[in-house]
């Protein structure tokens, strides 16, 4: 049975308990030994998911340019979302990993085997969500869905720590049914909510979200693709170029060879003709 996360962004309060729990359980050190500069434009001082941040709470502040419009802060919105690896059903990172370091576990999660990864970074460039990153140790890192905890019947640390149940862990099918119900409730209240991560996105995301704005507002791609989506076409066009390289090369070498053969034949013909002419003259 596939396990995963259902993240309801409408009840996230941005407390970052998930980030702290993730760091603590997985023993992830702070970036730059904790000497971080504040971004200065938000409560978000993590910035992005990285090798040292497997959970990242995004703060999306939506205010009109004139904050007094329609009364103080009326029509304003503050969206918060705890981002994490999506554990895609069709995972681009797993697809491209040339060493076999990235595997699918018995919980249907996507896991990087640290003893196999050689730090080629193919997975980093393949993940459309900007999840995978290389750490100071040269290897690729991302959320493991707390594989070690799952093997002992525990839920991931972030889900356990979440005080509002914005992050829920469980069987993906059950979570999805719950999310659909939640979306229906929100829509009944006039909130334009939807589930991001159904089958139309990379075969389904085992870690999916309830969102209330367009995906790109949350920094999520509208239509993420498999990294290899255009590879066949790329190879086909390269084959055409290879044919062009071969034809031009052969033409250049053959043409001169033919010219040379023609020239030598003309030369030989002229030489054969010479004594005959002389003979006829003498005759």
């Amino acid at each position: 049975m596939a396990k995963g996360f259902y993240t309801d962004t409408t009840v996230c309060i941005g407390c970052k308990a998930c980030q702290v729990a993730c760091h603590q359980w997985n023993n992830i050190p702070a970036e730059e030994s904790g000497k971080r500069n504040l971004t200065g434009d938000s409560y978000d001082n993590t910035g992005r998911l990285s090798a040292l941040n497997w959970r990242h709470v995004k703060f999306i502040e939506q205010f009109p340019d004139d904050r007094q419009q329609d009364g103080f802060l009326k029509g304003s919105r503050w969206l918060m979302m705890s981002d994490v690896c999506k554990h895609c059903v069709q995972a681009p990172c797993l697809e491209v990993c040339p060493t076999g370091a990235i595997i699918r576990t018995e919980f249907d999660s996507v896991f990087i085997q640290q003893d196999v990864c050689n730090g080629c970074r193919a997975c980093v460039s393949a993940c459309p969500f900007g999840v995978v990153d290389t750490g100071p140790d040269g290897k690729a890192h991302k959320c493991t869905l707390c594989y070690d905890r799952l093997q002992h019947g525990q839920e991931p640390a972030c889900a356990q720590a979440c005080p509002t149940d914005s992050i829920r862990f469980g069987d993906v099918d059950e979570l999805m049914a719950y999310a659909d119900q939640r979306v229906a409730n929100l829509r009944a209240q006039g909130i334009d909510a939807y589930v991001y991560g159904k089958e139309d996105i990379l075969g389904g995301l085992n870690s999916f979200y309830v969102l209330v704005d367009k995906p790109n507002v949350y920094g999520l791609p509208e239509n993420p693709q498999m990294a290899s989506a255009n590879v066949d076409e790329g190879f086909a066009l390269s084959t055409v170029a290879a044919a062009a390289v071969a034809v031009t090369g052969i033409a250049a070498f053959r043409k001169h060879r033919m010219d040379q053969i023609a020239a030598s034949e003309t030369e030989a013909g002229a030489e054969r003709a010479k004594p005959t002419d002389a003979g006829s003259n003498t005759g």
Partner: protein, 308 residues
């Protein structure tokens, strides 16, 4: 949007040197099979240069890894030794295998060229070369064809490797493999022209004419491929064609690296005729710059421009 993979100068140089090695091996084989006896120095130089360049490629790829000592994980399943590790749908996996196989082909050609040039007189090597040359014509032709296939694949797969990512500029540039392959051929021709012009001598004039004719055609095709690629890329081309990288791309790659060498024979400037290898030098510099801007543009500013 993916995080920057931090592919820096090791990868830029690998792409450039790999292209040169592929192009040289292919041209060397073409001159060997289709050329006349006066092309033998071309073949010899190609084979003498290609193999060391392939070795340099292996070195660059290895030192670029986060864990260089695990380079063999690309070819062997580290948990099931000695089962091979191959994902034929993943360009990086396929490329690792082709690099390894191409090293064998270029290595054999290298030994043959060493023996021909009298640099290698070891009995075992002489026997090996004699054994190889005593094979049937069909077998030798098959060997050269497979070698050329590996060379052409190796010259173009680097571009397809970038297509096989989710970085928008790379992912949507389906022609990148074709552009890199054409660039591999043009830079290899340029290197040969440069070497032959430096050597001088009447013997090389015939070969030079052939190489220059082929290089002109390839440059025209490369320009055409780049234009089509930019048109099909549309807004995704922005990191490449605007800003500082745009200046390098338009002036360095297109202007100096492709248009100038193409127009050079028609420019009647005294200062230019004193530098006979100027066009070839520009093609080589343009080829390196092409790889620099294509690799760096979508990663910047998340990567330092001097990042190895």
């Amino acid at each position: 949007m993916p995080n920057a993979p931090h592919w820096g100068w090791y990868i830029i140089l690998y792409f450039f040197i790999g292209g040169l090695a592929a192009g040289l091996y292919f041209i060397g084989t073409l001159a060997n099979l289709g050329g006349d006896p006066r092309d033998r120095p071309v073949t010899r130089f190609c084979y003498l240069a290609a193999f060391p360049l392939v070795l340099a490629c292996g070195f660059l790829l290895t030192v670029d890894l986060g864990k260089p000592l695990r380079f063999w994980h690309m070819l062997i399943q580290s948990e099931r030794i000695p089962l091979p590790m191959l994902k034929y749908w993943a360009p990086m996996s396929l490329g690792s295998w082709v690099l390894a196989i191409f090293a064998i082909f270029s290595g054999v050609a290298f030994i043959g060229a060493l023996v021909d040039s009298g640099r290698l007189t070891n009995d075992r090597a002489l026997r090996l070369v004699a054994w190889g040359r005593a094979r049937s014509r069909a077998l030798k032709l098959a060997w050269w064809l497979v070698g050329c296939f590996c060379a052409l694949f190796f010259g173009g797969y680097t571009g397809v490797l970038l297509v096989g990512t989710n970085v928008p500029l790379w992912h949507n540039a389906q022609l990148l493999g074709a552009v890199f392959l054409l660039s591999a051929a043009s830079t290899a021709y340029a290197l040969l022209i440069l070497v032959l012009k430096r050597r001088g001598g009447r013997e090389s004039i015939v070969s030079l004419r052939k190489l220059e004719a082929a290089d002109r055609w390839i440059i025209v095709l490369e320009l055409l491929a780049i234009v089509i690629m930019l048109v099909t890329l549309g807004r995704f081309a922005r990191p490449l064609v605007t800003g500082g990288f745009g200046v390098l791309f338009w002036i360095g790659v297109i202007g100096v690296g492709l248009l100038f060498p193409l127009l050079l024979p028609h420019l009647r400037l005294a200062a230019l005729t004193r530098r006979p290898a100027l066009g070839a030098t520009c093609v080589l510099a343009g080829g390196l710059l092409l790889r620099f801007v294509v690799i760096m543009a979508p990663q910047w500013p998340n990567i330092a421009l001097w990042k190895l």
